[in-house]
Symmetry: C2
Subunit: 588 residues, 2 copies
């Protein structure tokens, strides 16, 4: 296919759009790939649409390769199934809701667990029908509070979502593993730089959930990876290495100190230096102290319950990690009113002893283990206690991941230390289990004729987001730079010589590429200067630009590889040169 810039529906812009903050957003608008219609709602112009279709094709090929079957559910969905799973309410403001002319409730699908489950229930009844993996590449809707960065976080966007249905957990593990491999192939083919992050801590069961994050400074998600590359996880999923238990016997009794004004890290440190507090014969450090955070934890459908969270004093509490640790319960900090109602809580000086004496549940950082001694609040104003030993002077009711992760922390697998990075979620694979099949009472007869509820996996890829991610990871200050497999056109041909001979030669060249099945973007605009054409070529970002320029008369054509080198090619070698440059990608 030959597309001529003289007729292509395109206008490139020299100025960044006013509302754009991240490079992909600026460049995709400036290069005429997308155009804003409303907050988080974009049109796909011809170049953007073609690029998107190439990404979709790669996703489709790799899904088909693992035996997944494509279908397509509506975006307009009735309320009832989402009522059954409680998601009609749970989704809150992020769900687009509407009524039809008969006042029946509908929603615009944010994800389709309900429909996939109901359809499997409708069609299948025997174990012989399983396993099955179904997927769609479809427009989804989420009323994001802060749509941002163009198509990176839109309100109407395109997702590949798939679901696996298996009769047992081993089958689910297999379907999960197939998806993991397919996702790796997809992101590898697209040339994305990504990490696979454990999305939840071991609490929910090993590798039950992993996120594929494209590494990018504009990413909204922070994740940690180990210096030796063997480990990556969401901050919420990092498991702290437990402290080493110590013998209790022989440890000195706790001793209370006057510590007027010692309520910040700094003032604690000052006091410990001033009073010469020692631990194991060395001066005490902040990591020897224990903060006691008072929160209210509400289990679903229950009243909130006062809880004390103990974390080492050299770390801030990380509320996201705390919340993830306690899910599905919700957490909030205790208010002044809560302190007033519970006078045993001495604000700024709370310690575990008062909590235990008053029946308040205590959850402690994994470093707080039997025999470890701590400096903490003495439950009296302006006083701290030194040498409070876990297992002797207080006993936590459980363990919790509530402390922040710091760059340089030891990796959970013991290999190397942790680095903090930013990423953009591009994929998520998740062993969902029987939540939806139970909600819809999907009963399948197993080999023994017994009714069994199948188990599900849920797997997503942000297809439209991937286009922005590639723009984000591969641009330079002059424009976009697409990989060959994704570029709307692998080759961009520029006529930059007024000699009609040069134009005619370019015409013959693009016709020949077209005959070889290579799509070409052809800058045949007669009244546009070479300078503007080169600027546009760099902005639009095709991997190879062929210039019929000044030295055409000498039989020399320029071949520019976007983001790499430029070289001269004799006119007679040009087609072969291009074909061989494109070949490796075509074979992948």
């Amino acid at each position: 296919m030959i597309t001529r810039l003289s007729t292509l529906f395109l206008r490139t812009l020299r100025e960044d759009p006013a509302d754009a903050e991240v490079p992909s957003h600026k460049l995709l608008v400036r290069a005429g790939y997308i155009r804003r219609v409303a907050p988080g709602v974009y049109s796909w112009l011809p170049l953007g649409w073609k690029t998107l279709k190439k990404i979709e094709a790669i996703v489709r090929e790799e899904m088909d390769r693992i035996g997944a079957q494509e279908l397509s559910f509506p975006a307009l969905l009735p309320r009832e199934p989402y009522e059954t799973t409680n998601r009609w309410e749970e989704y809150g403001d992020a769900l687009f809701r509407l009524k039809d002319r008969k006042k029946a409730d509908y929603l615009l699908g944010p994800t389709h667990e309900e429909l996939f489950t109901l359809t499997v229930k409708d069609l299948y009844s025997s174990y012989k029908d399983f396993p099955v993996i179904l997927y769609q590449i479809q427009t989804k809707y989420r009323d994001e509070e802060r749509p941002r960065a163009g198509i990176l976080r839109g309100r109407e966007f395109i997702m590949k979502d798939s679901y696996s249905f298996n009769m047992n957990d081993e089958g689910l593990a297999e379907s999960y593993s197939l998806h993991r491999q397919a996702y790796q192939r997809i992101f590898d083919r697209l040339g994305v730089n990504y990490a696979i992050c454990q999305a939840t801590s071991g609490a929910m069961g090993g590798s039950a959930s992993e996120e594929f994050l494209a590494i990018s400074p504009t990413g909204e998600d922070t994740f940690v990876s180990s210096t030796d590359g063997s480990f990556a996880a969401n901050v919420e999923a990092v498991v702290t290495q437990p402290g080493t238990p110590r013998p209790i016997e022989g440890q000195p009794e706790p001793k209370v100190y006057d510590t007027p004004g010692a309520s910040t890290m700094e003032s604690m440190l000052e006091w410990m230096q001033r009073d010469g507090i020692e631990v194991d014969g060395r001066p005490a450090e902040l990591s020897d102290t224990l903060k006691c955070l008072i929160v209210k934890v509400a289990q679903p459908g229950k009243e909130p319950e006062l809880t004390g969270i103990l974390i080492p004093g050299d770390r801030e509490a990380d509320m996201k990690r705390l919340e993830a640790s306690l899910e599905p319960a919700t957490v909030e900090l205790a208010s002044d009113e809560d302190f007033a109602k519970n006078p045993f809580l001495t604000k700024g000086f709370v310690g575990p002893r008062a909590l235990a004496e008053n029946g308040v549940r205590i959850l402690a950082d994994p470093r707080v283990v039997e025999g470890t001694a701590w400096i903490t609040g003495a439950d009296e104003k302006d006083r701290h206690v030194v040498g409070l030993v876990c297992g002797r002077d207080f006993q936590p009711d459980g363990s919790i991941e509530a402390a922040e992760i710091k760059e340089g922390d030891p990796a959970p697998d013991g290999k190397g230390t942790l680095t903090l990075e930013r990423g953009i979620e591009i994929g998520h694979i998740f062993q969902l289990g029987r939540k939806y099949t139970t909600a819809f009472d999907v009963q399948i007869l197993d080999e023994n004729g017994k009714r069994t509820i199948p188990t599900m996996g849920s797997y997503g890829i942000g297809v439209s987001r991937l286009l922005a991610v590639l723009a984000e990871q591969r641009h330079d200050e002059r424009g976009l730079n697409w990989p060959v497999e994704v570029a709307p056109y692998p080759v961009h041909v520029v006529v930059a010589n007024k000699d009609p001979e040069a134009g005619a030669a370019a015409e013959r060249f693009v016709a020949e590429l077209d005959a070889q099945g290579v799509d070409v973007l052809f800058d045949d605009r007669p009244k546009v200067s070479p300078g503007v054409k080169f600027k546009d070529a760099e902005l639009l970002g095709m991997p190879y630009t062929v210039v019929f320029g000044r030295r055409y008369a000498d039989g020399v054509i320029e071949l520019r590889e976007r983001g790499a080198d430029t070289r001269d090619v004799p006119a007679e070698d040009l087609v072969e040169e291009i074909l061989s440059a494109l070949r490796p990608a075509a074979q992948s």
Copy 2:
């Protein structure tokens, strides 16, 4: 691609779904192509989805061939542009409206004139950029009052909509003609039996609007075609051949008769026979009489105005034709109250004279021309007048198409007579003009640097509806029957012989077809009887079914052409036989 029925996500049904009335709906559900989610909202199961994609591909190819450029607009659209064109209100209940979390108004796009126009305005400014044709194949939403017949009239459906933008009317005519040819190629390739119908009468200008109607007894639209095939039109677009003017001089004066009770066609005829009324020396007929229909016509934004509509007495009034004739005015029948307020209207005996005397506008059927004499109401109870001559005794203020069309009427082009048929709208091409470019003030500089408003054409194809139309036109009582270019799989291979050798031979055969690039649906189900497999094959409707059956041992394979003959093919010729059967389609 080989798809095995042992793993395909499919369950065929022996019973028609309870809510289905038309064959395409019944069969598409029974054959597992679609599945209902809500009224007028359907899921596409794997077979349906694959078929839909094939139809889309044909539409896309032919649109690309006329130089149309594909892009894609959102389905979720802000209210403002639709406010500008007044369609936010005009659409009434058929528009799905919703609010986002900030209470801003949105809609689900029913058509996208506004967005196309705004985008062209945004990107283009010079005549050099024109002409341009843009299209999308996209999900659209209309809250139909009576969604019916499965995907024939859905509330979420897939449409190809395109728009042309030209600097002048000649350009528009050219873009229109390109679309007309593309549509013919599309529907021809799909194998649809269709007619191209003039959608409006000459009033709006020649071929300004044509509908492509698939001929089908389940169609909602009635259209007329001429017996010699040279003419087809919507009923609203049929132009009546005008009557022949006659000299007024020498015609007898009108004479009033007592006609007690003559208020129906039958009683009129009775009276005329009884009183021996003659016209041109022959007994009077109903076609010599004139009905006078009293209506109220309201021009937009104005008060309704009393109007008399004269139509020959042998025809009913056709309100749809009447309304189309008067557009954009709206019409309603005069009420008893209107008659009471205007005592000169003698109900059942109104004639043109009282209307003219009282300043009521008279619009007459085209057969009512100068010198024609009529039998009509005498404006007195139980009296009629004979020999009322147009141009002497009354003078119409204008002409109107308000009489029904009858089978056998002369064709407007004078060739043959008219036949009434039913059809399903599958395409519509329309010279839209400057309505939207004016509304959004799209100003383009022409060759002389003068600001010019470009003119638009608007063109639609019901892509998902086409799938139902093909099912409707091509089924038989046993199931579907797809054309080769549309079938999800051109070949269906059935193993109907328990001999493992037969199964192995079938495996080799499908592998060979796959290697040749032919997609195969392979019924490899081990425990399903040949009878059930044959029934399923007919229901699913692939064009060719290859049966490895009883006579496999004799080297004979059965080749069944859906809806046609079955023949025996020697095993060694099988691949070549299939390839040559598929070849003509592949070359088209």
